[in-house]
């Protein structure tokens, strides 16, 4: 980000812990995409996702002195975001279809796959149970391995593996059922120029 001091994350953490709001804002900017994306894919609503992501950072500000390192910060943010999202999904009624469609097409970079397949995958993801959805997001959005996912969600490793296996099977089956020509997914994936 232009105009932002080139401090390491460790320095930013120290300064934010000491009450430096500018350092805290820099931390927010560094992690906002990850937190917002997790919120968005969990809740499937832009406004709720933005609200949730802001709440996560407010909570971070209050507890920043308990965050010990950069690695701990990323872990803390993912865990709090997913837990808060699951809590919201339990508390609040399902979203309308209008809100769901609004959540599409917000990715930061152009898609590498067919936009129709992309929208379909996101829609199918929303049909997964919240815990399974969180596992898939942490695996394919945050690129965590199953052990890290288990630690983040405080879930047994076998449960994580089982969620991944069943979710992928369900997604593959649903996509296969919808493809009348029986094409493989590879043929749907094409680079946009």
């Amino acid at each position: 980000m232009s105009g932002e001091p080139a401090w390491t994350e460790g320095t930013l953490l120290e300064r934010a812990s000491a009450g430096d709001t500018a350092a805290f804002a820099a931390l927010v900017r560094r992690h906002q995409r990850s937190v917002y994306s997790l919120s968005l894919r969990m809740l499937a609503d832009r406004f709720q996702a933005e609200d949730l992501a802001q709440e996560v950072f407010l909570q971070l500000y209050r507890s920043i002195r308990s965050v010990e390192s950069e690695t701990h910060l990323a872990f803390w943010l993912r865990r709090v975001t997913v837990n808060r999202a699951i809590d919201r999904l339990r508390r609040e009624p399902p979203l309308s279809q209008a809100a769901l469609s609004e959540a599409d097409g917000l990715a930061a970079e152009p898609s590498e796959i067919d936009p129709i397949l992309e929208r379909r995958l996101r829609a199918l993801l929303r049909e997964l149970a919240p815990a399974a959805r969180a596992v898939v997001l942490l695996r394919y959005q945050e690129d965590l391995d199953p052990t890290e996912i288990a630690r983040t969600l405080k879930m047994p490793l076998n449960t994580v593996k089982s969620h991944l296996k069943r979710s992928l099977a369900a997604l593959r089956e649903r996509l296969g059922n919808e493809d009348p020509d029986g094409r493989s997914l590879a043929s749907d994936a094409r680079t946009l120029t």
């Binding site: 804002a25 906002q32 802001q54 002195r65 796959i113 493989s184 997914l185």
Partner: protein, 120 residues
């Protein structure tokens, strides 16, 4: 083999579909604005290890001091009790001696009165 390939393709498609989304320019400013109106905004103080050690030491010292003071009070009370007992015994002894003297004086006086009567 085909399943494996399909899995790989699906995973690749998922990664592409789930690439990070941007919350927009004003997101961090929004967080700071909410922070400014947040009643519980102050970061919770985290004690440094040295401060925590000092506090633990101070708490332990307070307990030890409290026990010591309580013990001293108990010792003082016991000593005061013993002193009071000693004084009471002393007072009883003095009283006893006085009574003894008085008794003797009375007896001597009675005897001399009797002998003067019998002599007359």
């Amino acid at each position: 083999m085909s399943d494996e390939r399909n899995n790989r393709d699906l995973e690749r498609s998922l990664r592409a579909a789930l690439r990070p989304a941007d919350p927009g320019e004003g997101f961090a400013a929004g967080v700071l604005a909410r922070l400014a109106t947040d009643p519980a905004r102050a970061p919770r103080p985290r004690l440094s290890r040295a401060t925590a050690s000092w506090l633990a030491f101070a708490a332990a010292a307070s307990v030890v001091l409290g026990l010591f003071v309580a013990h001293q009070r108990q010792v003082l009370r016991t000593e005061q009790g013993l002193e009071a007992r000693r004084q009471l015994i002393q007072a009883l002894r003095v009283t006893g001696e006085k009574l003894e003297l008085a008794s003797r004086a009375v007896n001597t006086s009675e005897r001399s009165t009797d002998s003067s009567h019998s002599g007359a």
